[in-house]
Structures are given as structure tokens and as C-alpha cells.
Symmetry: C2
Subunit: 554 residues, 2 copies
Amino acid sequence: MSQDFFELHQPVLEKALQAARERGYWSPFAESPSPRNYGETAAQDGQAAFDALLGKAFPLVVDGAEGSVSGEVSPFGFPLNIRYPRISPDRLVAAAQTAGESWRRAGPRAWVGVSLEILTRLNRRSFEMAQAVQHTTGQGFMMAFQAGGPHAQDRGLEAVTYAWQEMSRIPDVAIWEKPQGKNEPIKMEKRFTIVPRGVALVIGCSTFPTWNGYPGLFASLATGNTVIVKPHPSAILPLALTVLVAREVLAEAGFDPNVVQLAAHEAGDDTAQQLALNPAVKLIDFTGSSANGNWLEQNARQAQVYTEKAGVNQVIIDSAADIKGVARNLAFSLALYSGQMCTAPQNIYVPRDGIDTAEGRLSFDEVAAAIASAVEKLSGDAARAVELTGAIQNEATAQRIDAARALGLPVLADSRVLEHPQFAQARVRTPLVLRADADDARIFQEWFGPISFVVATDSTAHSVKLARDTARAHGALSLSAYTTDDDVAAQVQDAAEQAGVALSLNLTGAVFVNQTAAFSDFHGTGANPAANAALSDSAFVANRFRVVQTRRHV
Amino acid sequence: MSQDFFELHQPVLEKALQAARERGYWSPFAESPSPRNYGETAAQDGQAAFDALLGKAFPLVVDGAEGSVSGEVSPFGFPLNIRYPRISPDRLVAAAQTAGESWRRAGPRAWVGVSLEILTRLNRRSFEMAQAVQHTTGQGFMMAFQAGGPHAQDRGLEAVTYAWQEMSRIPDVAIWEKPQGKNEPIKMEKRFTIVPRGVALVIGCSTFPTWNGYPGLFASLATGNTVIVKPHPSAILPLALTVLVAREVLAEAGFDPNVVQLAAHEAGDDTAQQLALNPAVKLIDFTGSSANGNWLEQNARQAQVYTEKAGVNQVIIDSAADIKGVARNLAFSLALYSGQMCTAPQNIYVPRDGIDTAEGRLSFDEVAAAIASAVEKLSGDAARAVELTGAIQNEATAQRIDAARALGLPVLADSRVLEHPQFAQARVRTPLVLRADADDARIFQEWFGPISFVVATDSTAHSVKLARDTARAHGALSLSAYTTDDDVAAQVQDAAEQAGVALSLNLTGAVFVNQTAAFSDFHGTGANPAANAALSDSAFVANRFRVVQTRRHV
């Protein structure tokens, strides 16, 4: 290859390995879009690059395209009209297998070096990516920049780091020398070769195409597999840009660019199923609905399947030192990207006879009112609110708000349409907060979008049991609890461990339950139905490669 | 617990971690049954302990037994008449779940400490175990001692070692401190708890109940799961002894002995299926037929399933420096435990126009005759041969020899019945070696037992292609090749890497393709249909536990 990318990026890799061990704060990709980090003209260059893509054929050079795929519409109200090459699933898989031969032989240093170079170049295009993410997912600009750019890159790097950690512990060669009493020892040389599983498939989602897509993409690539990236039909651009950058780096390094391919397709066809059931596809990473994720787990039996699916995220309020801080923090979590994060809270459990706070006893209604009022306050100023809420990714989510309203539950904070000062056609909604009782079975399912329930329970013990049993039965990616009582905290932690869900305790400041930090927080656990793997740990990478040994006497 | 088992065994664990990294020779459990290793009276004590078990109720103290299970018959010709408690699958699972609560909370040090103590005590009973293994599997005494005792213990320790390696890299607690420019950093404490998956099931086989059973058993136990051990109905005793020792250690350490339970059952009932489909069973380790293994993979969808199944092991003979050494080594591999090892060679590919050797060109027939004659020689002296071949585990395997003979292929070495000098009723057979052509589809399936084929191919290139394609399609646990040509060696290695099968090159001495050494050789790769995992690597342990984190501001 033209340059040893592994050597170039080894210092960052070393730091990443240390960060993954210590799990403190660390990020190599600046999360602030400040010109100090990205250059004076980065913002306008990124905007210009995005604008230049609109209405044109996407600049991906491929063989065997049969027409093109189009149809993305910004949730902020305009069509992108970008045309992506359409390639049949069989052709994609065949090209992946061909490209895989020399990629397999290149070995771990090349796989990891190329992966790190791709991430580095993606970082440089973070402003362009921010526009792409904003106008496919509906995220506000700042989230689109951070979650779609540097934070996604962090998660990609984290997966590469774990992959390297697991691969590098296998020695290239070992001498095995077995004593034979007075005789000469038996001496053998053993060579260990890391081999990939084959073709990997990444199935992207419409809300966090890069953040949720990069861990699987880079875990598979860094372990020597070839990767077919199948974006959600309504959020193709962020992954198309990613594939473009990957192919550019692969070609420079002397590899067949088909090591990474884009499988753009239109909604409602069977591209995903055809790819997922192809016998050569050995790894699948999926983020999306439980129905599709479960289908993959049940049917793509030839592949190792990693899924992140739906869940019911919950909050337990037992007691509070600072109820205003609680309400403010929760309101932010509910409003952020209009509850379209897989970690956004939905069910907030409060004992029906109220809670103790630093300012004395508060009734259930007072707690519910505090939360509702904090939500109303956050969405009071439309111009500021839209930066937080972004837009609703798709019409089905907007309609779900109406369906939730139609449950007939008391409305604590109603969802309103907000005018976006810049994009008049943007699909913006404020959070809907309803009051519910714990015996209402309808709330124990995912209500994806800006929909939450403040739920009256018999007691905190009841809340804890509900949270545990619901996470076990329906899955959960986050659990939040507020208590000033150490015994209650210990009980909630035990319930979280039984249900296999990450717990955040007493968040009242600038950290929100929706957010996780690469290298420190595991995203998902793999221990409840919301996900069968965590981002990222050894289990996420260890099955993506195998070891083949050759031994001989020396 | 009465004693800190972790601390007690930490020095061995440290050495084991180093051995797994370096993959040189290392074993903490002496493989020689010498009195120097095990004590002057160990052999007779073991025999006496075994004899004392015969004809009685097995001394396992359990609740809820409904009658007993019996029926083991030594392949050396006598019934064991040992009665094991019969417990219903539902009751076993319920007891495992109850026992799992305090076991889960005990944490990695306790899990690993208890596991290491169990292995240590099993080592002390290696002579008793040797008798148990010999008289259930049919192995000769030396193999029963080594593979059933110290080598199985090594593989168990290896699994514990990998489990500890993966768990210990997760810090108990981390401080996350995110800079906020001129403001105070955000500071959080994050606690990480290792949680087990739930109830684990180990399904034992009839040929290597401990060697194949211990990796899964100890990998699951050391990661905090409770384990139900379901032996093959014809080889219960070795695993019953194992469970007995495990329960003794658990009770001493203050845990519910039901953390490890025995599911003895009679042949032909549905105990395995009932256990495997129980929703609480989250991990399954299986060794046995492809039909049963594939059934588990397809149906036990709630569990992580690790299988070792059937395969077709192959030998490629391209050229040889020492054809006698080749023949002698191969003959030993064919005769050892009558080909009832999952790694025993079956198809031996030789170009039909012969091979080059140090003594000049040898025709196909000469090569075939050399192998057959080495086989005949090994089985010439019955008293010595029976120690090598042991007995045939079951009648179906003995009948398979007749079925192979009925293929009508030319016989190179015929299988004979041998009289065992000590056990007149022992089911002993010498290896059957047949000549076949490469286009005979009947040989590309597993012929389990002392059955092999010397196969005429068009060329070494043809042999390599056959070996690769057969391993890919039907699975293989071993591949052996003989060549004096480095280019051919490289081609075979590439084929082995494509087919995901471990390769042994030019074995002519005291190492045999059937054998693998813990901490150095991976057994299986997980990369072809013979097994979906390797013994042992990170992938074998990393999915047996999950991490649940709790974070809060500090």
C-alpha cells in the first residue's frame, strides 16, 4: 500500500486501547464544531459540499449498476433528489467475495490501518456529514454534527480497538516444546492466521445511520471481512458518504474497493432479506424494529446476527434532593431529537402517594406537573426548541403522537406543531406527556417518538419491579432512577443487573440518560430483548474472525 | 467462603494467562500416571473407588429425585449397574434459577476460584476418573487417564483462564471526567458489574465426556452461570463424578450446590430437548452428531449454542522424505481409540500417478500398501494393540465397519476382532482401510469409527481442492498434509485458511494429527460446519456474560 496506515495511526490506537481498559473520558475526534477544531471554512465547505450533492447522481464509481435509487426527503421539508446506483444483491455479494480474497490475505495490520484511515478521513468531512445526517434523520444541526460525526467516529474507532485487542493477542507464531524426560523435547512451530468470517452486512436505520452503523461496519472490516452497507431507504446519504470514503482509502491502499459496497434500495423491496439470506453473508449488524430484528435472528441462520431493536426505557422516581433538576433533566431527555433516540425515556414511575424531596413531600400530581412544566418551558421558544427537538424523521412517528393522544389518558403536556424559523415545511413536534396507571397494559410497549407516560405506581418497590419485569419482557436500553436513599439505589441496581439494563442514578445536571460515551459507557448490554450485543465489547468483535493454525516439527 | 479459592489458585491462573498468550507448551496437570505425580497408592485407590461405585446408587445428594436412571455398559463387556437420581427437566431448571441468585451476586473472583478448586480436586481423582472414562467410552486405560483426566482438566482450566481474562479487563469502577472548557469538568463514577446469562446446559458425548464437556461447563460456571450437565446415557459416570466434586466444592464455599446439577436420563427420551428449549436456558454446549447439533442451532433460539459436530478429516500426501514415518504416524492416528476421535483422519488423498519420496518415486499402490501394512503391524500383537485401540463405544459403530466393507471397495487392511487379554467380552476391532476414487461421493461424509479410505486423486492440486471443498461443505476438525515442497505447503495452508481447518504438516514423529494441546492448539476453529466455536478462545467465553453499568455524578 502507498502508506502504512497502521503505523500512521498506531499512536491513536494505543491510546484507544488504554481508554477501553480504563473506561474514563477519552475521544480523539473533537465534538465541538468550532473552527479551532475543524478550520475556519469547515462549516461553509461542508454546507457547499452537501448542496453540491443535491439533485445529482451520487459520485460513487461502481460496476454493474442497473439504474438508480432515489427518494430521500429531508424531515425539514425538501427532497434531496440524489440518485444512487442500484446493484442487485447477488452481484453485490459476488463482488464482495471476489474482493475478499486479497483482503483476507492482507492480515490484521492492513485491516486495522485501513479502518483507522477511513475514520480519520470521515472526521474531516464531519460538516458535510452533519448536513447529510440532519437532512435524512431530522436531527437538529448540533446533534447531527456530534452524533453523526465525531461520536459515530468514536464508536467506530472503539469497535476497531476491540477488534485489534482480540486479534493482537493471538501470536503469529509460537514454539511448542514438550519435555520428554531424558530424551530430546518434541519441538513444533505453530503459526496462527486470523481469518475473516466472509461477507458482512450492515443494515442501517433511519435515525442514527452512522452512529448505529459504524460499530458493526468497522468491527467487521477491521477483522478482515468485506462489508455490504444497506442503508435505510430514507437515510442513504450518510452511509453513501461513508462508503465513498472507505472505497477511496481502499483503492489508495491497493485493495479492491468492493471490500466496502453500498446496497441502496427503495422502501418496500426485499433487498434486505435477499442479502441477509445469502449463504455467503456470515455477519449481520442490524438496528431497527423488533419485527425486522427478530426476523433476522430467526431466519438468517447462516450468519452471526447482531441486533439492536425496540425497548421500553424507564425512569424510577423515588425521592429527590432537587425536583427541579430532576424535571429539567428529564424534560431535556424527552425533548432531545423528539424522543427518537433508542435510549429516550418513555415510562416514568412515581408512587401514587407522592415522594419525599428536599423541600418536603410532593404529591404524584405535583411531580407530574413539574415534569410537564419543564417540558413546556423547553419548547416555549420555538426558535431554540427546534434546535433541540429537530424534526420528526417520518410521518408514521408523527401519527403515533395522535395514536397516543387517542388512548384517552389525561394529558400532562400536549404535543404541539412548531414552526421552524429556517425550514417552513419542517415536521416539528413538541413532546406529549400523558398520565397513566401502572395496570394499563398499553404503555408496556415501545411508543417510539416524543411520547411519554408519568405512571402512578403503588410504591417505589412496585416501580422497581415494573421496571425490572418490563425490561426483561420488552427490552430496554436505558434505565434512570432518582433517589436519595442508598438502600433504594442498591435495590434499583440489583433490579438493573437482573434485567440487564444500564442504570443512570440521579442525573440532574449536564448528563442525560439518552447519552452514552464511547470507550466508557457500554451502549446496550445484550442481556435483554432490546439488543443481543453491546457497543462495544469483546463479545461484539470476537466472533467476527477465526484462527487457523498450521503446525510442523522444527 | 471457608477459604479464598481464588487467592489459593491465583499463581496457577497467572501462569495459565501467560500460557494462553504465548501458546507454547504448558500444563499444570501431570499427564503421566506415575506414582511420582499422583502418589504410590493412587492407581489402586482409583480402581477401588471405581469398584465401590459399581452396582450401587451413585452418592449424589439431591432433592426431588423421581426414581433412578441406569443402564451403562462397559465397552469392555460388563454392566456398571450404577443408579443415578432422575430429576425432571423443569425441576432442574427451577433449582438452577434459585441457586443462581446468590451465585450471580458472588462475582467473578468467587466464580473463578470455585472453578479452579473443582478442577484441582478432579485432578486428585484422575485414576478413579480414568476407570470411569475407560468403562463408559471404551478408551484404553492410558488415553482414559490422560484425555479423561489431566488433559480434560487442562481444557477446563483453559476455559476458566479465558473467562477470567475477558472479565478482568472490565474495571469494577471508573471515573469519567469530561473537560468543560473554563468550567468545572463533568465528573461521573461508573460501576461495572459482570452478570451471567442465566442457566447453562452442557450436553455430553459418549466418547470424550470430560474432555469435550469441561470447556463449556467451566466457561459457563466461571462466568457466573449455573450449569446443568446432561451426560450421554451411555457415559454418565465421568460427568456424575465431575458434578459430585463440583457440588462438594460449592457447598464448602457456602453456595447452593444446585449451581451445578446432573441431568441423568435414559436413551431415547426427550430430556435434552426439554432442557434445551426451556426459556431460562441461555447457554448450551453440545458435542455429538450433526443432526442433534443442527437441531439445537435451529431450535434453541433463546440460547447461545456452541456445537461440535461431525466432519470429514482429511490427509493430503504430496511427497515425503520418509514414507515409513508417514505410514507409521498415520497408522497410529487411524488405530488410536479405533478412529473414534473427532479429529481422526478418514480420507487420505494420494495422486493416482504416485508421489516422490527420498527413496524415489512410489506408485499410488505402494503408498496405499505402506499405510495398510503399518496399520496391520500396529494391530499384530493383540495385547499391545488393545491398549491403543481400546474398545468400540457402541454397537452402531461396530456395525458401521460392516457397512463400510459392504461399499464393495478394494480392502487395503481389513478390520479384525481382537481378543482382549483382560476383558473377554470387550468389543475390539482393528482399523478397516479401503481404496477409493475421488469421484466416489459415498466417502464425502463422516464414517465414524475405525474406517478410512486411501483415495486416488488426479494430482496434488486436486487433493488440495477436494480437501478444501469437503471441509467447507461437510466440516473438518483436522487436516494433515505431507509434502517436501514449500510451494505445495503454502497452497495447502491457503486452502486450510479458506476452509477454516487446522493444518498439521509432515507429522512423522510422536505428534499425531488427532491430538491437540490445551493453551497451544485451538481445537476446532468455528469456521466450518464441524464446529461453530473453537476450544478455547475469547469468542468461546465472551458471550457467556454481560456487563451492566451504574453511573452517577460525583
